[in-house]
Amino acid sequence: MLPLSLLKTAQNHPMLVELKNGETYNGHLVCCDSWMNINLREVICTSRDGDKFWRMSECYIRGITIKYIRIPDEVIDMMKDDLVMKTKARGDVRPGRNAPGQRGRNTPRGSLGTRGKSGVGNLRQAPYSKNKNN
């Protein structure tokens, strides 16, 4: 299980991000990338000593400044479900191996359709897989 995939799974969930300088940011994850740069919305920023607070509607945090991220426990369960689904999907698709690889991965996930808030990656892939299916 990769930390960045877990972060992607945590999209739309509340989380706490502590920066190396000790500031913490509480907010909902909008999106993230492979450098761990993240976009939060409805953020409350707390100063290092916890005595000052700032509210902002949106913020962008550079990945390299992050110390750690705390996310809700249920996200890891979602991740597990996702993994099971993916393995299953891979098993189902195996017979039709001559089909392009991309398709095999997208079709079952789309049809199961439980993961509306998956990643940016999914959103980006959606139109692509639709074209393939039609």
């Binding site: 299980m1 990769l2 930390p3 960045l4 877990l6 972060l7 190396k20 761990m36 990945g63 390299i64 992050i66 110390k67 750690y68 991220i69 705390r70 996310i71 809700p72 426990d73 996200v75 890891i76």
Partner: protein, 103 residues
């Protein structure tokens, strides 16, 4: 490039789903189940708690839950022997909090 990837990946693979103790660059000590990691040593720690050390009272354990710890903040990943760990009486342990890493 590929070589590095495998070395690092193999290095922590044996700790996955085990209880690990993490010491971070700011001198904090986290304990939890290692659920995953990547080549830059970012870690997923499940059911984690922080052990706060002090010289005047026993170790305080703060329950935190699910964490992603960024690799550049990680100092030591130690596999915890749960048998030994459960025998430690943390209320009796006194220690200076660790200083943070100076580069």
């Amino acid at each position: 490039m590929k070589f590095r990837y495998f070395i690092n990946m193999a290095a922590l693979e044996s700790y996955v789903n085990h209880t690990v103790g993490i010491i971070t660059a700011d001198g904090r000590h986290f304990v939890g189940t290692l659920k995953g990691f990547d080549q830059s040593l970012n870690l997923i720690l499940d059911d984690s708690h922080e052990r706060v050390y002090s010289t005047t009272q026993g170790v305080e354990q703060v329950v935190l839950g699910l964490h992603i710890i960024r690799g550049d903040n990680v100092v030591i990943v130690g596999e915890v022997d749960e048998a030994i760990d459960s025998r430690i009486d943390f209320s009796k342990i006194r220690a200076e909090p660790l200083p943070s890493i100076v580069h």
